[in-house]
Amino acid sequence: MIKSPKPVTTRRAFLKSAAAVSGALVIGFWLPEKGGRAWAQGTPKPVHPNAFLRIGKDGTVTVIVKHLEFGQGVTTSLPMLIAEELECDWTKVKAELAPAGPEFANLAFGMQGTGGSSSVSNSWEQFRTVGAQARTMLVSAAAAQWKVKPEACKADKGFVTGPGGKKASYGQLAEAAAKMPVPEKVALKAPKDWKLIGKATKRIDSQEKVDAKTVFGMDVKRPNLHVALVLHPPVFGARVAGINAEKVKGVAGVTHVVEISGGVAVVGKSFWAAKKGRDALEVQWDTPEALKVSSDKLTAQYKELAKQPGPSAKKAADPNAIKTAAKTVSAEYEFPFLAHAPMEPLNCTVEFRGAEAEIWAGSQFQMMDQGAAAKVFGLAPEKVKLHTMAAGGGFGRRANPVSDYIVEACEIAKEIKVPVKLIWTREDDIKGGFYRPAYVHRVEAGIDAKGKVVGWNHAIVGQSIIAGTPFEGFLVKNGIDDTSVEGVADSPYDLANLDVTLHTTKSAIPSLWWRSVGHTHTAFVMETMVDELAAAAGQDPVAFRKVLLAKHPRHVATLELAAAKAGWGKPLPKGRARGIAVHESFGSVCAQVAEISIEGGAVKVHRVVAALDCGVVVNPLTVEAQVQSAIVYGLSAVLQSEITLKDGQVQQSNFHNYGVLRINETPKIEVHLVASTLDKPTGVGEPGTPPVGPAVANAVAALTGKRPRVLPLGKTKWA
């Protein structure tokens, strides 16, 4: 059956921008108190171990992982935390992804969510506590059976042993243990007694991923499952003016054409049917001139704005101090829009059964997505069951406050009333918005004769990621989106008279956080400008930074480790140069040294040496992997990736023109971990991304004498 919608004159509220839609959302979740920063919140509360743990009769320990696994290794590291205290047999530990549910809240967010490099840090106390509680209950159960005191029993490697050689496996004790009271207070092990934490532990999902048995959202199979593709507007904010589905009727296997808030969906019995149907669909779009944005004009506007006075994110004590500088450096920086482009294209499977619904999606924000789906269906959130599927990457794209593709899938399912999987093609993904916004920075900084920074005027221009989302209340203060200025306004450098203004622009181009959020651009500017000041002062870049970071021993230690391991200061072959950068994000400090050459006018990165202070290291193997990952992800953006618009249309469409790093372009990467002074873990997934860009740019400057200020570097021919 093909529904041929009549041309419609009045439209439902349309996805003009993140702001327009999210403002209207009513979502059933709890947000931390106003004034608190998302990942600074969080006090662990006692939780019933049953939510996170199942022990089978065969002794299998299944840990319910409250975070999405999308590569970061959380299905290994969170079970490690429980197993450490549970004293179980690690080889019998399995992981299962939690569905949507309030008991699975990220304690740093106050709602369920994976992001902000917080999965391990927010679970640190909670998951170890759960393990200790469960162990106590197992011991209590054994003691009760044996009629001895719990103190006379010991738990180790999945068994409880007691006086007189008594021994019972966790599997044998599980049922009785479940009836024991959950202890309110449990003592956690001292670091010296850790058996798993800090030990290189291989991922528990490797074999199933190597065997291609992991079921991603894309792989969900359901009876009578249809596939939907959506024709989105060619210009963000354009509206459907008319639909001609005549030619779609001739496509075998197409079953429905439905208009939804985000465009027009074509549904078929297979991907290919839906794809051919969508190709045959003709839609007229109403596109006001104002929406026909072009990147070059946008950049020019941003540059003009950067020169104007604007809202203050940080005021200098003495704005005139810079006039006393012996030397000043001024620079303007340009950052493009960036797509996340996770390997698994976005998708969502929905079964709408009238009074209830079921959803399968690799979601970073399960409860928000559940709430958004419930709103589409007119159901209570608890009537919508959301299964968290393994996700093929995400980098922020699957954490959308407006649940864009989830809402699309639900709108289609509600209309057609058959099970449906919405699939975004790669073109939909690259052209689909929710980008890291484009930014322009303008900086003027001055040093005195000794190289001390006496003034630093910094203007940032770009869209807000947070404005209009439910996070606005606690992340946007006095018109300043914290994520637009993080890494600048809170710089650890001893910068006298740092002055930061922020011009928040608005457009119909939807924006979203992208691995390391504001640090994606702020670290680049800070670290290249500091490098430039070091050169102006005639000082070594490492020595110059150490003076400015004298009050920050973690930064200094990290910087020194990276420099030492990279052979900083040692001669290099002709045509090679090194650059360094250090940046703090998500509670961790990462320093990197990049070694580069110029080949055929292009920057080639040969080696990146990274040092990271991420507090307590839970699993050194996944930490190393995440730093490698963050560097490759960052390098893609530094060297190749950019989204540009012409007359409102995104000019890139797939990996042939949205460049991302390939194996032959990947440098040797070395990761060194700082022996941290902290007693808890800090972020791991993102902190490796911010420093790589400025480290590369500083190396380019060292080699060529030219300062890269327009990203990606691939736009410029270097010599």
Binding site: S206, A212, Q628
Partner: protein, 156 residues
């Protein structure tokens, strides 16, 4: 009606002959180990073996494989020495992150090592550059391919 073989089993396909092989494998045969990533042979997530060569199934019409044998990740023989070596090296080196691209990576690595048991760094890059990984597992992929080659007796 197009007749061909998938993992040694005869199959028939009666729908649109222009359907990409990838979607016949996934939607019609339920073999979802072969992944959709880009649809235009840019990312390698859909890599399969056709006559021993690593090919991108998203950009091959099903009509083009009539009479041929297509091997997917599900059809890799666990006892095959190259398959065994590659999978063991992938686990040993803790390569996978999200894992979505890895079936494609493994298909490319198996095709490489089946022909060349002692690939140079440049040959590894050359054989694997068609397989994108946004998690950036490339450093460990390199290590794993070398580990697998070494275990197969390849020396260089």
């Amino acid at each position: 009606m197009i007749k061909f073989f998938v993992n040694g089993e005869p199959v028939q396909f009666a729908n649109d002959p222009d359907t990409p092989l990838l979607w016949v494998l996934r939607d019609n045969l339920g073999l979802v180990g072969t992944k959709f990533g880009c649809g235009r042979a840019q990312c390698g997530a859909c890599t399969v073996h056709i006559a021993g060569e690593a090919e991108r199934s998203c950009s091959i019409k099903v009509s083009a494989v009539a009479g041929k044998n297509v091997n997917t990740i599900e059809g890799l023989t666990p006892s095959n020495p190259v398959v065994k070596a590659v999978k063991a090296a992938w686990v040993d080196k803790d390569v996978v992150q999200c894992g979505y691209c890895q079936p494609g990576q493994i298909m490319s690595a198996v095709a490489l090592l089946a022909k060349n048991k002692a690939p140079t760094d440049a040959q590894i890059d050359d054989a694997m550059e068609g397989n994108l990984c946004r998690c950036g597992t490339y450093p460990r992929i390199r290590e794993a391919v070398k580990t697998a080659a070494a275990s197969l007796g390849g020396k260089r």
